[in-house]
């Protein structure tokens, strides 16, 4: 099972954290500090796995961002590595060649998408197309609600003119 997902920039800035096991705020900070130290100091061309506490952290760097997932000792490492890539491909498709800035200003989107991909630290959907469809549906729901709201406020504005 995936214990948590972290997105950390090369400068050590946290871009996303998602915890599937209960960690207190204090522990979360500690984990982040520890792991960014370990992972950011690794030079290129090493393997994508780091042994950490009683877990393994599978990570991959995409441009300036490190995507990390912490898994149990006997979980399948390569499978997790490809979950990361799968996530990145979905983000890429959604934002249209995604970059760190997209994820900074739309961090909430990154969460929505992750929730369509993983629940309880397990993969729920392996089809990019399905995830994209579900996210689009969510977006349109939000849009509709907004339009409704603005049309209502227009009406109110009209009426009170």
């Amino acid at each position: 099972m995936i214990q948590f997902v972290l997105l950390i920039s090369r400068q050590g800035k946290v871009r996303l954290t998602k915890w599937y096991s209960p960690y207190s705020q204090k522990e979360r900070t500690k984990v982040l500090r520890e792991l960014s130290g370990v992972i950011l100091s690794r030079v290129p061309k090493l393997c994508n796995f780091v042994e950490w506490r009683e877990y393994k952290v599978v990570y991959k760097r995409y441009a300036s961002l490190y995507f990390c997932m912490c898994i149990d000792q006997d979980d399948n490492e390569l499978e997790t590595l490809e979950i990361i890539h799968h996530y990145v491909e979905i983000l890429d498709r959604y934002f249209g060649s995604v970059c760190e800035l997209d994820l900074i200003f739309n961090f909430h989107k990154a969460y929505y998408i992750l929730d369509e991909l993983l629940i309880a630290g397990e993969l729920q959907e392996s089809s990019k197309k399905t995830v994209a469809r579900l996210i689009a549906a969510q977006d349109s729901l939000v849009e509709t609600a907004k339009e409704q709201a603005s049309s209502i406020s227009n009406i109110i504005a009209q009426a009170t003119k």
Binding site: R15, W19, P22, Y23, R42, I119, S126, V142
Partner: protein
């Protein structure tokens, strides 16, 4: 991409990004937090949109690493917003900010449940996602039936069902006792026929969790899993979108193979054949390709297939195919594959008989020890450690030593410990062993624990041939300009004992040895000084005829330390000074240390702290035993009477050398002493001596080898004998094993609760965890070896009473050091009875055979299920059960007086639910429960207790149920509880000391008065 119009949020993010330093960032964030706080205070003025925006800001601030200790309420309250955009934000932010232990989550349970059972699909999804990510116990209690319904519902769309599957997985994983999965075997089998791969993938994760807990129930899923694998492998009927770089859902393939690894074997020959065909195809058909992702995905599948093949213990041919593949992998350039190759090779080493193939790759593995990647180096070290045996020990240990000087600090401790253990286990000759350990101390002194150098001293002391060699070796190290303190300790000790053997060599006169050791004194810590003082005394003693100059020098040192603040140093200085004035007698008093008794290596301990898999452990050990080298046999063949008398010199931290009276008695008794110690070294049969080196074998030695110094030695000498053997780790000096805590108290406590410690002694702890469902119970015994050496000849025999059917899974014969073994135990209750099952448990530690008989808490009340019953239900039942044998009434005397409330608690804790208000008399109690057994099925039991406020030591009790035996047993059971209750049962830690008494003995002999009500 549009920002969905949250301008305030993006302005804030930009601001934070533009901050020049951490301080500015903190100021900006504080300002924003202040702003949010004020806005939240005045909630009425907030539009949903604003609220949403602030909640997002909070999440962002939280992510930056700042504490956000308010506003949780606002986030949670958004969950109940009627519109999707707000609700969505509420759910997501809540599941990020809070974890399952947060109190605020409780507030949301109702809303969440309404969303789950409501008709709005999108709301269902949001709710399931949050519960799946952070749902805790309360969610499991109130939601799991609804979630189960959604997963099975044919009217729900896949997008809801796949979320329901994982949500259920989470709830089950966290609270297997709450989520009822009875009858889920068929449902799971049905779910595995699912065509939608999203639902199937999620369901497969759920299946893995279910089978990992209880594989027997899910046999029917096994052929289905094989079918799925076939379907995927042949790429039949898979939507294009589920192909990942041309591979049909690699994730589902991996998960399916993982599920299969929880079944012990595949019995059906057809299923087995199909499965092996698929596996063969995966093993042979996976090529290395250029595309990284395709490569990773196909190898993810391949490595899982390897694991499954190893698990199924396939034919030898397939195994060697696997080994060959791994051999290829560890040499490729791709670091991931190399890492996994090494990892899986280590796994393979443990489960099967392919060492020879693996040994062929030794050179390659050693190369990996120098890999630039620490992850890979770690794997290589583990593998080398695992594959080491007598044939390759020398090469491997030397590689490890060489690597030690360049190794990262993070790895040095593990590395030096492993090298020391391998050197001890597989040394071709003893001088090599000494060389290795000295090199270890020299290169990584900081990481060499005391145990390691104690061990060298033991070997050298016990092997005369080795003594001059070892002394000369340490003498060489002393010439080095800077040496580690541990090296000072070991060399001072060895030169004190055996330095005189070198006297004729250049640079080894007593004076020279003294001065080179004394040079180190200013650099060492107080723990080393006592050793140096002993060495000086010994040098002085060996120098015959006396060298006055040397004597004066040493006396001056003793004088100097006579007033040392450290008691140990002071005492030694005073005593040595006094002793060394005794002239010739000194020779006897300070003679050589006697041989150490045979004992287990205390070294093995730490290395195994990290190793978990017990099966693997014992596999290594067994093999190691077979290939054991004879070199380290402690060669004491001559009669021990020839050994010089015991010395009072102790190593470090020795207890007392209290006074001269004792010392002089020691002198007189020294020959007798010697006799006592002769028990230590009987003619050593080789197995016994090997036992010293290898934990597991030690117990094979004849029982006579145990040392019982006290038996033969006059009381005044006990200290001294202790000192002579003081190097022994304390636990090995305990010869009779005393349980820790009171066994019957522990049993009693476990009658109330479902997990806890059943038994503990200095070596083992037996924990128990139980789950009861109707007439069946699943217990797990946790056998934990607390020690640094293995426990062997472990045996557990269940002696079930006739009313229980019990099945204990295999208990491993050996429990590796510091490991915990789980042994599931299935219990089925056939009919009511108060008899308890007994487990006859035994193990051997060293020469101690320990045997205990423990009652298991599979007692009557475990098969109760509390039920609360209304007056309308109670009275007809009560009336219909009229008179004996179905209804028994009795006056019980000699009851321990209890306030009514406590008695209620007591009954409740036995799952006899008190039904308040049924009996108009406030002094009476009425309770009910349901009892389950195979014979009686679910059977309602009713109890009425009439107490006498004037005399709390007596009461009248009426018990009724539909089964005569049950009525009788329950009556007796309650009586036992009321008559002798050692403590209030609701005390949370029932392990506190409490007097125990045999319940039956105290039972009031008053005849059973059965009467009609």
């Amino acid at each position: 991409m549009a920002l969905l119009g949250m301008r305030g949020l993006s302005v804030f993010i930009s601001d934070v990004r533009n901050c020049q330093n951490k301080e500015q960032e903190r100021l900006r964030v504080d300002k924003e937090l202040g702003n949010i706080r004020t806005r939240f205070k005045n909630e009425k003025g907030l539009t949903p949109y604003e609220k949403k925006k602030y909640v997002w800001k909070m999440l962002y601030i939280y992510m930056l690493g700042f504490d956000v200790d308010f506003g949780h309420m606002e986030a949670v309250s958004l969950i109940s917003a009627p519109k999707y955009p707000e609700k969505q934000v509420g759910y997501i932010v809540t599941s990020c900010l809070l974890n399952e232990n947060h109190d605020f989550l409780r507030l949301a349970i109702n809303t969440v449940r309404n969303d789950i059972i409501g008709r709005n699909e999108t709301f269902q999804c949001l709710a399931l996602t949050m519960v799946g990510n952070i749902g805790g116990r309360e969610f499991a209690e109130s939601l799991s039936p609804d979630v189960q319904k959604l997963l099975l519902s044919s009217s729900c769309r896949p997008l809801v069902r796949k979320k329901a599957a994982l949500c259920l997985l989470r709830l089950y994983r966290k609270n297997p006792d709450v989520v009822n999965v009875d009858g889920w075997a068929d449902r799971m089998a049905q779910l595995l026929d699912e065509r939608d791969l999203g639902v199937l993938t999620s369901s497969m994760s759920l299946l893995v969790a279910l089978v990992s807990n209880h594989h027997e129930a899910y046999w029917s899923c096994l052929p289905k899993c094989v079918k799925i694998l076939e379907r995927l492998a042949r790429n039949q009927d898979i939507l294009q979108e589920y192909n990942y770089y041309g591979i049909p859902s690699p994730w589902l393939q991996v998960k399916t193979m993982r599920a299969l690894q929880y079944f012990p074997t595949v019995e059906d020959p057809n299923t087995r054949r199909s499965l092996f065909e698929v596996l063969q195809k995966i093993l042979m058909g996976t090529d290395v390709v250029k595309n990284v992702n395709k490569n990773n995905a196909s190898h993810a599948v391949l490595f899982e297939a390897l694991a499954l093949v190893m698990h199924l213990d396939a034919e030898k041919e397939m195994m060697s195919q696997c080994a060959a593949l791994l051999g290829k992998f560890i040499a490729v350039r791709e670091p991931n594959i190399r890492y996994l190759g090494l990892e899986n090779m280590t796994r393979m080493l443990m489960v099967t008989d392919v060492q020879d193939i693996i040994k062929r790759h030794q050179a390659q593995i050693i190369t990996s020890l120098k890999d630039p990647d620490i992850s890979i180096r770690r794997r290589a070290l583990d593998l080398l450690y695992g594959m080491c045996d007598i044939s390759n020990a020398k090469d491997i240990v030397e590689e490890l030593l060489q690597y030690l000087s360049t190794a990262d600090f993070a790895m040095r401790e593990e590395l030096s410990l492993k090298a020391a253990i391998l050197a001890e286990k597989f040394a071709p000759d003893l001088s090599w062993y000494v060389d290795v350990i000295l090199q270890l101390i020299d290169k990584a002194g900081d990481f060499v624990s005391d145990d390691i150098w104690f061990r060298v001293v033991q070997f050298v002391t016990n092997n005369e041939d080795l003594q001059p060699y070892a002394a000369a070796k340490v003498r060489e190290y002393l010439d080095k300009p800077a040496i580690h303190e541990t090296m000072v300790k070991v060399s001072a000790y060895l030169l004190g004992e055996f330095g005189h053997l070198l006297a004729r060599r250049p640079g080894c006169s007593p004076k020279e040895i003294f001065s080179i050791i004394h040079e180190k004194l200013p650099t060492v810590s107080t723990s080393t000084i006592p050793i140096l003082l002993s060495t000086y005394a010994k040098i002085l003693m060996h120098r015959q005829p006396r060298d006055l100059e040397l004597q004066n020098q040493i006396w001056a040192i003793f004088n100097k330390y006579e007033s040392c603040i450290d008691a140990e140093i002071q005492q030694r200085a005073v005593e040595y000074f006094a002793l060394s004035r005794k002239g010739e007698a000194l020779l006897d008093i300070l003679a050589e240390m006697p041989k150490f008794p045979e004992r287990q290596s205390s070294l093995i301990k730490k290395a195994e702290d990290t190793e978990v898999d017990t099966a693997e452990q014992s596999a290594i050990k067994l093999r190691a035993q077979q290939q054991m080298s004879n070199a380290l046999v402690v060669t004491d063949q001559r009669p021990a009477n020839g050994t010089p008398p015991v010395s009072q010199l102790s190593l470090v931290k020795m207890p007392s050398m209290n006074n001269n009276v004792e010392l002089s008695s020691a002198e007189e008794a020294s020959s007798q002493e010697n006799g006592a110690l002769s028990i230590v070294d009987p003619q050593p049969p080789s197995a016994d001596v090997q036992g010293d080196l290898l934990g597991p074998l030690a117990i094979e030695g004849p029982p006579g080898t145990t040392v019982h110094p006290e038996q033969n030695v006059s009381s005044g000498l006990e200290h001294i004998v202790d000192e002579a053997t003081a190097i022994v780790p304390v636990e090995e000096e305990t010869y009779s094993v005393q349980p820790i805590g009171n066994i019957s108290e522990r049993f009693r406590a476990l009658c109330f609760k479902d997990s806890g410690v059943l038994y503990e002694d200095p070596y083992i702890q037996i924990g128990i965890k139980a789950e009861w469902r109707a007439h069946q119970g699943k217990l797990v015994l946790f056998l934990g070896n607390k020690n640094t050496s293995p426990l062997v000849s472990v045996q557990a025999i269940i002696l079930p009473p006739s009313h229980l059917k019990m099945e204990l899974s295999l208990v491993p014969e050996t429990i590796p050091p510091r490991a915990q073994v789980q042994c599931p135990l299935e219990v089925m209750n056939l009919r009511p009875s108060r008899d308890a099952a007994v487990i006859d448990f035994s193990y051997k530690f060293g020469n101690n055979m320990v045997n205990v008989k423990l009652r298991l808490p599979a007692v009557l009340n475990k098969f109760f299920q509390p039920i609360s019953i209304s007056a309308e239900e109670f009275f007809p039942q009560w009336r219909s059960l009229s008179g004996p044998p179905l209804k028994l009434q009795e006056v019980v005397r000699g009851v321990r007086p209890l306030p009514l409330l406590e008695m209620e608690n007591l009954l409740n804790s036995y799952r006899l639910t008190i039904c308040p208000g049924l009996d108009p008399n406030p002094n009476n109690l009425v309770a009910s429960t349901t009892f389950y057994s195979e014979g009686t099925r679910a059977m309602l039991c009713l109890v009425r207790i009439e107490t006498d406020p004037a005399d709390r030591t007596q009461l009248r009790m009426t018990v009724a149920s539909g089964d005569p035996a049950l009525t009788y047993e329950l009556t007796e059971f309650i009586k036992e509880q009321l008559v002798s209750i050692p403590i209030a049962p609701h005390v949370p830690t029932p392990l506190v000391a409490q007097p125990t008494s045999s319940p039956a003995a105290l039972t009031d002999p008053g005849a059973m008065l059965a009467a009609l009500l």
